[in-house]
């Protein structure tokens, strides 16, 4: 087996995009059924989790509370071609999570990504929508405190910008009812 073939097949095994067959070289079949491959994959995930714990702590905290961290990191690793440059890994992970159908997770990831960009000098204003009141959520995630008994539902936005002291502010949007009441 030449070097290119061997490397391509091992890449496929590590990224779970290739399954060894009976026609494969014995070495590839040996790796495919080895405990080492499974441990290697866990090792990859472990490195990523450590980086994310340091670089996107709010989102990691939320994922841990929901017992989603390990599975989502593994999904992310399989789905994305992750750069070895550590500083790019958290933004890529947060961009991937922004697409989540879980509204709270998407909002926290978007918020943390926007904050990261603004702190790095981004001059744009980022608006993130929330379906629950964000201040207490963000406070609990930042301080690692339990969420209150009930998250207060509502329509909110966080505005993230370098022009805002502290880099963000929270707006409560008026609901149809509150708009009617205010007239």
């Amino acid at each position: 087996m030449d070097l290119a073939t061997q490397q391509r097949k091992l890449l496929g095994l590590f990224r779970s995009t290739y399954e060894a067959t009976a026609e494969d070289d014995p070495y590839i079949r040996r790796v495919a059924r080895s405990r080492d491959l499974a441990e290697g994959k866990k090792n990859i995930a472990l490195w990523r989790v450590w980086v994310f714990e340091r670089t996107c702590a709010l989102t990691v905290n939320l994922l841990r509370r929901r017992n989603l961290l390990n599975n989502l990191v593994k999904e992310f690793i399989t789905a994305e071609n992750i750069s070895p440059f550590r500083e790019t890994q958290a933004p890529a992970f947060l961009e991937w999570l922004e697409k989540s159908e879980d509204h709270l997770l998407a909002s926290v990831a978007s918020f943390e990504l926007a904050l990261m960009r603004v702190r790095e000098g981004d001059q744009q204003t980022h608006i993130i929508s929330w379906t629950v009141e964000p201040a207490s959520i963000l406070h609990c995630l930042a301080k690692d405190l339990p969420f209150g008994a009930e998250m207060r539902a509502g329509q909110y936005q966080t505005i993230v910008s370098s022009r805002i002291p502290g880099h963000f502010e929270i707006l409560e949007l008026m609901t149809a009812t509150s708009r009617a009441e205010s007239r």
């Binding site: 070097l3 890449l11 070495y27 040996r30 080492d36 090792n43 490195w47 440059f85 500083e87």
Partner: protein, 291 residues
């Protein structure tokens, strides 16, 4: 033998001490500086993305320039991927160029491994198969590296994540031939050897007996965690006494060519380890290596 008694004073060979520093933690740097002779810098970990361009952090480079009178630098890359069949990473060269323009370094090094295949990243380093094809390719690239940068270049043994592929050389035989053909030096990561022994029954003594020890210029000392019976190559702990003792043994056998032992740890591990534990480790290394 009790672990603590494995570390002995080296009587004849004094080896300098180095430590990883990835910037943005000046309090840690201040604690480490009196204890180290070398700071190991990894270009990729001090890089930032500005739009589509990846470049070195100005803040971190400023930190490094500020200590350039107090300490020497060695560069240790992780993203070159010297063993990828399709070619190495051009981005690494941009970063290395940028770094060498700003600080003076004693030598630079990388891992004898590949991290990407056809542009797709593995997320881990895999060891090279010990074949003629791999040896020829790596040697050509080492020579190109030496031609481009007029600095000593070293390659490090990486941990064997998966079983070794069949090849024409033993691990030590491959390293011996590579150094013979190119004149490059070696980094021996002794913790990686311990991982290989623990995970795959690797014969450390047999490896050391076969290796041309005079090619070893630098040692890496680290410790990770055990998971499911496997020792993982993650730099999150204080080095075990057995690791330091193994490093001492390599130093003794390197005929005075091993110049520095570097304690490697990830920035992610610093909060858990604490500054005191890191500086204690450096004190112990200084004592162990005759400083």
């Amino acid at each position: 033998m009790a672990a603590s008694s494995q570390v002995e004073q080296i009587e004849t060979t004094c080896v300098s001490i180095g430590a990883t520093y990835e910037g943005r933690d000046p309090a840690l740097l201040e604690r480490m500086l009196p204890l180290v002779d070398y700071i190991e810098v990894t270009p990729e970990t001090i890089a930032e993305k500005n739009g589509s361009r990846i470049s070195l952090s100005k803040d971190v480079m400023s930190e490094l320039r500020n200590i350039s009178h107090d300490v020497k630098f060695i560069v240790h890359g992780v993203g070159l991927s010297i063993g990828s069949h399709e070619g190495w990473s051009p981005t690494y060269f941009h970063l290395l160029d940028e770094l060498l323009d700003q600080i003076e370094v004693a030598w630079h090094s990388e891992h004898l491994a590949y991290t990407k295949v056809d542009g797709e990243h593995l997320g881990i380093m895999l060891a090279m198969p010990k074949t003629e094809e791999a040896l020829d390719m790596v040697c050509q690239r080492v020579i190109r590296m030496q031609d481009r940068y007029k600095l000593p270049f070293l390659l490090e043994n990486v941990v064997h994540v998966i079983p070794d592929a069949p090849g024409a050389y033993t691990d030590a035989g491959f390293l011996n031939e590579m150094t013979r053909r190119t004149g490059c030096g070696l980094i021996l990561d002794v913790y990686n050897l311990e991982c290989d022994a623990h995970n795959h029954g690797f014969d450390i003594q047999g490896f050391l007996d076969e290796l041309e020890m005079s090619n070893v210029r630098e040692l890496h000392v680290a410790r990770g965690v055990e998971d499911n019976g496997f020792l993982l190559d993650v730099h999150s702990q204080i080095a075990a006494s057995s690791t330091v003792a193994l490093a001492q043994k390599v130093v003794r056998e390197s005929e005075g060519n091993a110049k520095v032992a570097v304690y490697e740890f990830m920035p992610e591990a610093v909060p858990g380890l604490g500054y005191d534990a890191i500086t204690d480790q450096l004190h112990r290394l200084r004592a162990a290596f005759g400083n």
